[in-house]
């Protein structure tokens, strides 16, 4: 089962871990007598995420009251979460929700895959970002530009 895009449910590594933990709690409650899938989703994730999960569940043509299928669906999501690559990102400012959306959307659009963002904030960057992904490092920041300009200024011979 490939659910492909879970970015509407979580975007960061921390969010994904919390999400996975909540899924565990629901899975543990599946076989209880008074288990209600929709109520459990609503209780753990709120309306928007709950709706999105139900939409995904139904898109798999699963019966809403089948505990075995529910468990299979939730474990599939957990499995997919564990396989998502982590993008370590250093930014110059604390990102807002839209910033996270912009980044995850870019990945979905350009690389056709979801990544979990692990974000650090370093104001000395001024702007841009440092990227660490699968052991590769990339820097593009205003700080580097400023340093480069300053270095060039120093390297120029003075008359």
């Amino acid at each position: 089962m490939d659910l492909t895009d879970l970015s509407k449910l979580f975007k960061t590594k921390v969010q994904a871990d919390d999400f996975s933990s909540s899924l565990d709690q629901i899975i543990r409650a599946i076989y209880s007598a008074d288990f209600n899938f929709e109520q459990n989703l609503l209780q753990h994730f709120g309306q928007t995420t709950s709706d999105e999960l139900l939409r995904l569940y139904k898109s798999q043509n699963n019966a809403i009251q089948n505990p075995g299928l529910i468990k299979q669906f939730l474990e599939a999501i957990k499995d997919q979460i564990s396989k998502l690559p982590v993008l370590n990102l250093t930014l110059a400012f604390p990102p807002r929700e839209n910033t996270l959306k912009v980044i995850t959307s870019w990945f979905m659009l350009n690389l056709k895959k979801q990544v979990l963002l692990s974000i650090k904030v370093d104001p000395t960057l001024i702007g841009g970002a440092y990227i660490d992904f699968n052991g590769k490092h990339f820097e593009y920041s205003i700080q580097n530009k400023v340093s480069s300009i300053i270095d060039q200024t120093y390297e120029q011979p003075t008359n």
Binding site: V102, I126, G128, I131, F133, Y140, I142, V146, I150
Partner: protein, 212 residues
């Protein structure tokens, strides 16, 4: 009554005996005194005699001694005068000899001293010239060595020091400029610009193959 008379008789007899005893004792003392006076007179006479003898012998000894002393003194005076004359003569001769010796020695010494000085002066002059020349040569060599070895080293060290100080100054200036830039740009760049910059970064990272 008879007893009373008897007692008077005995008392009288006793008094008489006592009186007699006293008289005898007195006579005995008197005769003893006379003997003692005689003995004293004898002793006094013999003492005077002994003293007179001693005085006369003393006078004789003094006279003999005085006479002998006068003889010795007169002999000594003669000897003293003779010795003094002889000593004076000897000293006069010695002075003469010494004067002659001193004069001669002085002349020799002056000559020797003069020659030595001349010699030393000449030698010193030559030595001085040699030393000066040697010193000049050494100085030239040292200056040349300094110019060849030390000077470049010092210049290099100075250059290094200068570079080090310039680098430190540059570092400080860079930090200041960066801080100033950060302060200005952080206020200038809004959140939309930041997001655009992040997307630019992702594009460049993709182009660099970071996500492959």
């Amino acid at each position: 009554m008879e007893n009373f008379e008897l007692a008077q008789i005995i008392s009288t007899a006793t008094d008489l005996v006592l009186l007699l005893f006293i008289l005898i004792y007195f006579f005995h003392l008197r005769s003893r005194e006379k003997r003692l006076n005689q003995k004293e007179n004898q002793i006094d006479t013999s003492f005077h005699k002994i003293v007179d003898d001693a005085l006369s012998r003393e006078r004789k000894i003094i006279e003999d001694t005085t006479q002998e002393a006068e003889q010795i003194i007169s002999g000594a005076k003669y000897l003293s005068n003779e010795t003094k004359q002889s000593l004076d003569q000897t000293l006069a001769k010695m002075v003469q000899v010494m004067e002659q010796g001193v004069t001669q020695t002085s002349q020799e010494f002056i000559k020797y001293y003069f020659d030595s000085l001349n010699h030393i002066t000449g030698q010193s002059l030559v030595n001085f010239q040699n030393t000066t020349k040697q010193l000049e040569e050494n100085m030239t060599i040292q200056i040349k060595q300094f110019q060849e070895t030390m000077m470049p080293s010092i210049q290099k060290e100075l250059e290094l020091y200068k570079k080090q100080k310039m680098a430190e100054a540059d570092k400080v200036v860079k930090v200041i400029v960066q801080k100033a830039s950060r302060e200005v740009l952080n206020k200038t760049i809004n959140i939309d610009d930041h997001e655009k910059l992040i997307v630019d970064t992702l594009e460049k990272a993709k182009a660099e193959g970071v996500f492959d």
